[in-house]
């Protein structure tokens, strides 16, 4: 009975797990098998050949570089901005009725409707160009990653601020008061009292930020097509173009590699967070 009881939780997960296995895990496993094969209509086993050619591929290297840069920077900035703005807004947050709504609004605006605005802002002769007095197409130049990061920030910062804010408001005030009594300034309070307590929330925020940042590829695709400027050529481009070229195995190999990395990172992050929280307590 006891042995069975241990598995009780699985029972609750099962309905979801059934569907997840059917629609996500099975396809993913099958996709993993494709990593070691080649051919379109008839698949042949090739061993590690796909991985070798993937790592030697210039386009892939470029894509990895750009993706790490853009997604990494956006996630970092998103979390930082979320934290800083939340700390700034904290005191007065209750006064701003309805601020939550405005923070959420960018998320509710569909990407498709925004495309025309992005074009107006960043294309040649757009607002940004005329403000800076240059005639550059900011959607295809070396500075484009900054524009893309800007787009990600615009869409997700508010959400992250809300996430952090809500947990800030829940922190027990005693610690802060104690620190204040000891003469700590705002910065010190934030650094040594508040942030450590926010760590679990920040971990959650990081994952949500990664999830949201990856969605930018759709916008880039809609804006610039299959082959954008090389500075914003992302892994998703590499994958979908290889799909169009019927190199499905390269797609799955790239994805598999990417997800191994993400898995390890998250796993390590989670471990660290657990460790850190335990230490705190």
């Amino acid at each position: 009975m006891n042995k069975l009881k241990k598995w009780k939780g699985l029972l609750w997960v099962l309905p979801s797990l059934a569907g997840v296995s059917l629609f996500y895990i099975c396809p993913f496993v099958q996709g993993m098998w494709y990593c070691f094969t080649t051919g379109v209509t008839k698949r042949q086993f090739t061993g590690m050949k796909n991985f070798v050619s993937l790592f030697h591929n210039n386009a892939y290297q470029l894509a990895v570089k750009n993706t790490t840069l853009i997604i990494g920077a956006s996630v970092l900035l998103l979390c930082l901005l979320g934290l800083i703005l939340a700390l700034i807004l904290e005191k007065n947050f209750k006064k701003y009725k309805g601020l939550q709504f405005w923070l959420l609004l960018p998320m509710a605006v569909p990407a498709a409707s925004l495309l025309l605005l992005w074009k107006d802002l960043f294309e040649q002769g757009g607002l940004l160009g005329s403000c800076l007095g240059v005639r550059t197409d900011f959607l295809s130049c070396n500075e484009t990653p900054l524009v893309i990061i800007g787009m990600i920030l615009w869409k997700n910062t508010g959400y992250n601020v809300l996430l952090v804010l809500s947990s800030l408001m829940l922190l027990p005030p005693e610690y802060e008061e104690a620190a204040r009594l000891e003469g700590a300034g705002s910065w010190q309070v934030a650094r040594f009292v508040k942030i450590p307590q926010l760590v679990p929330m920040l971990f959650f925020t990081v994952i949500i930020s990664i999830y949201n940042s990856f969605k930018i590829s759709r916008e880039i695709y809609l804006l610039k097509g299959e082959y954008p400027h090389k500075s914003i050529y992302l892994l998703q481009h590499y994958m979908s173009n290889n799909f169009l070229g019927l190199n499905y195995e390269m797609l799955t190999t790239a994805a598999f590699t990417l997800y191994t990395v993400i898995f390890i990172l998250i796993f390590m992050g989670a471990r660290w967070q657990q460790h850190y929280t335990e230490q705190m307590l």
Binding site: L11, V40, N58, A59, K230, N241, L244, N247
Partner: protein, 737 residues
């Protein structure tokens, strides 16, 4: 544990319900018999010179089937009448109505309708009168005539004339007439006696049908709506949206007055009541059902444009031998071919699938539709659902060859080659390592009209560009019927070897110069500034097929063959001489057999059939020459016709032939050909070589960057750099380098 069993069951139940109510495809019906087949024209007259007609009427005062057609091709409009005899064939006959019409002085007749309640026939048409337009030509005035005592047509109600613009679709009963104004799409009701307008019934109407006392309206927009009105009260009773595939349809009432048939390109559908799901009675995928053409129904046979659709009881509804053909865009010629094949092999079924069907006023650009289609098709291919035969236009042919999607068809070709010598050359376009993967069955020719110096000795872009830079005001060569993008693609195919090194990388310097040259020769904004005088030249021609077309012209046995061959040439040459020595081509209707298809005997058979057909028949011609299909031995139509034309040309009359293009009647000016000319062409073409087009993706990249350069947003240097970068990226990404 027992306590939460209930919850568990609920969750299970929900997931079961959700998975259980999949509206999966219904099982195929059991083998039933009977289906409609497309058949060629029934009205086969003796007079082969008849070139076009419109059929407007179907029942005479006695209630017999009688068809009135109007011959447009003559100087004077002629009305001919056909009657159905006992074995079901239509025979030409002089009837009271046709005689009366011919004597009436009417020119274009837009409607002949019978008022069944009063047993009268009304004709709406145009009549020339004394008034003249600004050009000093007589003006056609609309009029309505009433058929009296069998033969005499009497013009009625002058008041009516002022009200009535061009009317096409009409219903008459009880002395009241409902008309559809084809320009304004508005539906109005008139009293015939007084000619007064009774009421305006609806707007934005594309077609209508009157069934008993109900009026069914078809409204076409982004969505097709079918509305039902009560005629007496004018109240809307019912409305439903028709499925997407029945867009752009026309209607005809069922003969038992119990329902309506909807005819669109995707098929003929029967609908008994508004709101019901239409039942498909004919699959349009394999037919040539036109858009915007009003169908007629007579004794169970549909008459649409110049084709008829006859029900065959002895044929199985779903044939057992199956072939799937996939095309990106709807292709009339292919459909035509399929239809003909099916007629010859009624026991086999060919599934014709369009990946990016044109559904009415779509908001998507062609590029978007195509890339979606390619993505869909690739997914299908990768999941193993490979079609047997692919029409490779707009598809990445090179990738498909590379990835072994296409099978070797050299076997099929060697068999058919014997009687079609010209295919042997065409075939090389998609030959790789001794295997042949696809064959273009058609070609497109671009033409350039301009100064002799630039065209006669072979076309040279940089030479032309240099001249244009010095003389920016004139235009030495006009590339007609060509968008900028197409021109870029064509030219980059032309200079492929210079622009792209053997290892695939782009020569940036040459590319820059190339872009600048193209910009210099681009047609100027003002079309009037173009210099049309000079000699046309083919800078792009799939020579061997062109040669074949020319050969056909010189050896054409009858009018149809002659016109067919001319039609093929029309895009390419208007008159006179070819001068270019280099040729560049745009192969079209590239057909390939997939690996899967090579195992399907029926698919192979069809492929072979396509090859032996030499060419796809052209729908325009099929329609147009419907009346002159009949071949006669030992009759040299060619010379006879030529003489006629020569006479006309001498009199400076030209030859204007009406033809149906995209469902719209247009006039095409055909020029004459001479045997000596053809021979000159043949000789020149023999010396030329085939050039393969540049890779689709590469062309796309060049086109994109070139466009932004032409717009002025980038410099040629930047554009060339971007092209090099992107192409390098593409090549390394696809492991092609």
């Amino acid at each position: 544990m027992m306590k939460y069993k209930k919850w568990w069951l609920v969750a299970l139940g929900i997931s079961l319900v959700l998975t259980g109510c999949q509206p999966g495809q219904k099982a195929q019906k059991e083998v039933a018999m009977g289906r409609y087949l497309e058949e060629s024209l029934c009205f086969q007259g003796e007079d082969d010179s008849v070139q076009s007609y419109q059929r407007v009427y179907f029942e005479n005062l006695k209630g017999e089937a009688e068809a009135i057609e109007q011959d447009f091709a003559r100087e004077k409009d002629i009305f001919r009448c056909w009657q159905k005899d006992q074995d079901g064939t239509w025979k030409q006959a002089d009837t009271a109505l046709s005689n009366a019409l011919n004597q009436s002085g009417l020119t274009a007749v837009t409607a002949v309708e019978k008022d069944k309640t009063l047993n009268k026939i009304y004709v709406i048409g145009f009549k020339y009168n004394a008034a003249q337009n600004s050009m000093g030509e007589p003006m056609g005035m609309p009029c309505i005539l009433e058929m009296k005592e069998g033969a005499v047509l009497q013009e009625i109600s002058t008041e009516f004339n002022k009200e009535v613009p061009t009317k096409f679709i009409v219903h008459i009963s009880n002395g009241k007439m409902i008309t559809l104004d084809t320009e304004g799409d508005s539906l109005k009701e008139y009293d015939i006696e007084s000619g007064r307008k009774i009421r305006e019934m609806a707007e934005d109407v594309k077609d209508f049908v009157v069934l008993q006392d109900k009026l069914y309206l078809l409204k076409n927009g982004k969505n097709t709506l079918l509305q039902c009105y009560d005629i007496a009260s004018g109240e809307k009773e019912n409305e439903s949206q028709l499925p997407d595939e029945i867009r752009l349809s026309n209607m005809v009432a069922a003969e038992d007055q119990k329902g309506v048939y909807l005819v669109s390109q995707s098929g003929i559908y029967y609908l008994q009541q508004v709101g019901q799901i239409p039942e498909k009675v004919l699959d349009g995928n394999l037919c040539n059902l036109p858009q915007y053409s009003r169908p007629q129904l007579c004794q169970g046979i549909f008459y649409i444009d110049q084709l008829q659709y006859v029900y065959h009881q002895e044929l199985p509804t779903v044939p057992d031998r199956k072939v799937t053909i996939v095309t990106v865009e709807d292709n009339y010629s292919l459909k035509q071919l399929v239809a003909r094949y099916r007629k010859e092999n009624p026991e086999s079924s060919i599934e014709y699938i369009t990946m990016a069907p044109y559904v009415g006023e779509s908001d998507k650009t062609n590029a978007q539709r195509n890339s979606e289609a390619v993505q869909k098709l690739n997914t299908q291919i990768m999941t193993g659902a490979v079609p047997d035969i692919l029409l490779l236009d707009d598809l990445p042919v090179d990738t498909y060859i590379e990835k072994n999607v296409l099978g070797d068809i050299s076997e099929l070709i060697t068999e058919t080659e014997k009687d079609n010598s010209y295919y042997e050359q065409l075939i090389n376009a998609y030959e790789k390592e001794g295997k042949i993967y696809a064959v273009p069955l058609g070609f497109k020719i671009f033409k350039a009209v301009g100064e002799k110096t630039f065209l006669k000795e072979g076309f040279d872009l940089s030479k032309l560009a240099a001249y244009q830079r010095q003389h920016p005001d004139e235009q030495a060569v006009q590339f007609s019927e060509m968008e900028t993008g197409e021109l870029v693609k064509l030219m980059s195919s032309f200079y492929k070897d210079k622009l792209i090194h053997e290892n695939g990388s782009v020569d940036q310097k040459t590319m820059k110069a190339f872009l600048e040259d193209i910009k210099a020769v681009l047609p100027s904004q003002d079309p009037n500034a173009c210099n049309y005088e000079g000699e046309p030249v083919i800078i792009a021609a799939q020579k061997k097929q062109l040669k074949a077309a020319l050969k056909e012209i010189s050896t054409a046995q009858d009018l149809q063959e002659l016109f067919y061959a001319r039609e093929q040439m029309r895009d390419g040459m208007i008159t006179s001489h070819i001068a270019g020595k280099d040729a560049c081509l745009q192969p079209i209707q590239i057909m390939g057999l997939s690996i899967k298809g090579t195992k399907n005997e029926e698919a192979k058979k069809f492929m072979q059939y396509a090859l032996t057909q030499k060419r796809f028949n052209n729908k325009d011609l099929y329609f147009f020459y419907g009346l002159s299909v009949e071949k006669k031995e030992n009759t040299t139509y060619l010379s006879g016709q030529q003489k006629d034309y020569n006479d006309m040309m001498e009199k400076d009359e030209g030859v204007i032939l009406p033809t149906i293009k995209d469902g719209i009647l247009t006039n095409v000016y055909l020029h004459d050909w001479y045997t000596e000319e053809t021979e000159t062409y043949l000789k020149q073409l023999e010396q030329e070589q085939v050039i393969r087009p540049v890779n689709e993706k590469v062309a796309e990249i060049i086109q994109q960057e070139a466009a932004s350069y032409f717009e002025g947003s980038t410099t040629s240097q930047q554009a060339a750099e971007a092209i090099k970068e992107k192409i390098d990226l593409y090549l390394s990404e696809q492991n092609l380098k």
